[in-house]
């Protein structure tokens, strides 16, 4: 790490109500892919492909509307204006091309906006963020939201995306490698667009929704066997569970891609 690189840290000062901290994180080896790990408790995450060789992290003001929802008595007193929205703290570390960004608690209900080189492996996680949004990044992506949606626009590589409460909407420009992929939600639709030539074995399951696709999905015969748990010798329970997933192949089959939601439709589009 060159000390001179530290000078690249810039703080942009914006006049007006919303100042934004902008941190330029120098990458140890710009010729190699970056791994970006982001974890926040109450904030949204937005990642886009930048044109430079560094990772740029912007921490804006907090989401005032969400704070007011949580604490409606916390409005401005008569004649006074709110200062900011509770800016959140953030810790950033770069070590051998792995950039780790952690924010909150405390505070931390704003949006982390990050520019990163186009070849970046993403590991993004938020708990109460309204959205994780990624655009134009190539790599192996692991995306997790608990109470919010996931939008991956024009990404390439492989994707594992999961949320508890929200939609999973993904557009894959290119699929590289033969890694299995997973797109799952508990309460929300799954909407995935893949290249027309994608070869995969699809595992599909929606408990309370329909499944649609314009791919020619060759359904496999239901070869699944009931799963039997025989605990009569210990606690007297005997349990039979049947996997309700539907499996099928596209373009002759390939790595397994899982599409699963409890409440919502599953849509698989051909690009």
């Amino acid at each position: 790490m060159q000390i001179s690189n530290i000078a690249l840290i810039t703080f942009l000062c914006a006049a007006g109500a919303a100042a934004q901290d902008r941190v330029t994180v120098p990458i140890s080896n710009p010729s190699q892919p970056v791994t970006l790990k982001v974890s926040t408790l109450n904030g949204s995450i937005k990642v886009t492909a930048g044109t430079g060789r560094d990772v740029i992290v912007s921490t804006g003001e907090g989401d005032v509307s969400r704070r007011r929802e949580r604490n409606p008595r916390d409005g401005a007193p008569p004649g006074m204006a709110r200062i900011g929205g509770g800016r959140f703290g953030v810790d950033i570390e770069e070590d051998h091309n792995v950039v780790t960004v952690n924010s909150g608690p405390p505070g931390g209900d704003g949006t982390l906006v990050i520019e990163t080189p186009a070849n970046t492996n993403l590991q993004l996680r938020t708990t109460n963020g309204s959205m994780i949004e990624v655009t134009g990044i190539t790599g192996d992506h692991e995306i997790e939201n608990t109470n919010g949606s996931i939008h991956l626009n024009n990404v390439s590589g492989s994707v594992v995306a999961h949320t508890q409460n929200g939609a999973v909407i993904v557009t894959l420009d290119r699929i590289t490698g033969t890694k299995p992929m997973s797109f799952t939600s508990m309460n929300g639709k799954i909407d995935v667009t893949m290249p027309a030539a994608t070869k995969a074995r699809l595992r599909l399951k929606s408990d309370n929704g329909a499944i649609y696709s314009d791919f020619d999905v060759r359904l496999e015969a239901d070869a699944s066997k009931p799963l039997v748990e025989d605990n009569r010798g210990t606690n007297g329970k005997y349990r039979i569970s049947i996997d309700k997933s539907v499996t099928g192949t596209i373009n002759g089959g390939g790595p397994e891609y899982t599409f699963q939601t409890m409440n919502g439709n599953i849509l698989i589009h051909k690009k």
Binding site: I3, I6, A19, I83, V90, I92, E94
Partner: protein, 282 residues
């Protein structure tokens, strides 16, 4: 920081102990003392309220009362012997110091109160003091269980409480005010000319400045809003990245910064549970 937390914990423990006792005996006795010629007032009490009133005089006049609640006459007598108010003058400083077996250090300039009393104590002593002071006197005030009020002073201030509010009315000067459990509420007759801070942990921080205010604010609350009726400009956070063990490390603590007027001394306002208000005097 460890010392502050220790004092907070011990202070809370003392308050709990006192409140939990069934005291049957009460004794009230007046306090009167006069200092002259001192430029600084140093008050350090464990329990009781402290009120500072600036006037046109040249002397420091202490009035008030000691209030003892005890389980019986024997403990009352023990309280009178144990818990005393030392009044001294040293190097132009008037010192008022609650002393007793609960202190285990002789370093009176330290913030460490050093409680080490046994559980057999069955009394509680409050020193409720009103101190009239010259307007320009510098203040160094400490109170663990009780509120602190200042009115009309114009000198530098360094004031901290633990379980109680801190209120400054119609004051001038610069310095630091903090409490742990209670609000920090201050109104300035003349705005601070040097860096200052106003803090609480569980309470609001509410400071009123004169309309000609020119300062930069560093603000932070975890659970609460931040408000002002001054025109202000938002600034980027302070802090920066560094190289540590070959890694790039950047830490931001989530403070908000604003400039009022043309900027000037840095004023920190901070709480954990409470709002922050920067008011313009009417």
């Amino acid at each position: 920081m460890k010392q502050i937390l220790l004092v907070a914990f011990m202070g809370a423990a003392l308050a709990f102990t006192a409140a939990g006792r069934d005291y049957k005996v009460e004794d009230r006795s007046p306090v009167n003392h006069t200092f002259s010629g001192d430029k600084k007032l140093d008050v350090d009490v464990i329990s009781g309220s402290v009120e500072i009133v600036a006037d046109g005089g040249n002397s420091i006049r202490v009035t008030g009362e000691r209030v003892i609640h005890a389980a019986d006459q024997q403990n009352l007598a023990r309280a009178k012997q144990d818990d005393v108010l030392d009044m001294n003058e040293k190097d132009g400083t008037a010192q008022i110091y609650e002393n007793g077996p609960f202190r285990n250090n002789n370093n009176r300039s330290s913030d460490y109160h050093g409680f080490h009393e046994g559980s057999d104590r069955q009394y509680n002593v409050d020193w409720n003091l009103t101190v009239h002071v010259p307007r320009e006197i510098a203040l160094h005030l400490r109170d663990v269980n009780g509120s602190i009020r200042t009115d009309g002073t114009n000198g530098a201030f360094d004031i901290s409480a633990v379980n109680g509010s801190v209120t400054g009315t119609n004051i001038g000067g610069s310095g630091n005010i903090s409490t742990v459990n209670g609000p920090t509420v201050v109104s300035f007759r003349e705005n601070p000319k040097s860096d200052s801070s106003f803090k609480s942990v569980n309470g609001k921080v509410d400071v009123t400045y004169q309309p000609n205010l020119a300062a930069e604010f560093d603000l932070r609350t975890v659970n609460g809003g931040m408000f002002t009726d001054f025109e202000s400009v938002a600034l980027a956070s302070s802090g920066g990245g560094s190289s540590k063990d070959g890694k790039f490390v950047y830490k931001s603590h989530g403070n908000s910064r604003i400039r009022v007027g043309s900027g000037g001394p840095e004023i920190r306002m901070e709480t954990v549970n409470g709002s922050i208000q920067i008011r313009k005097a009417k």
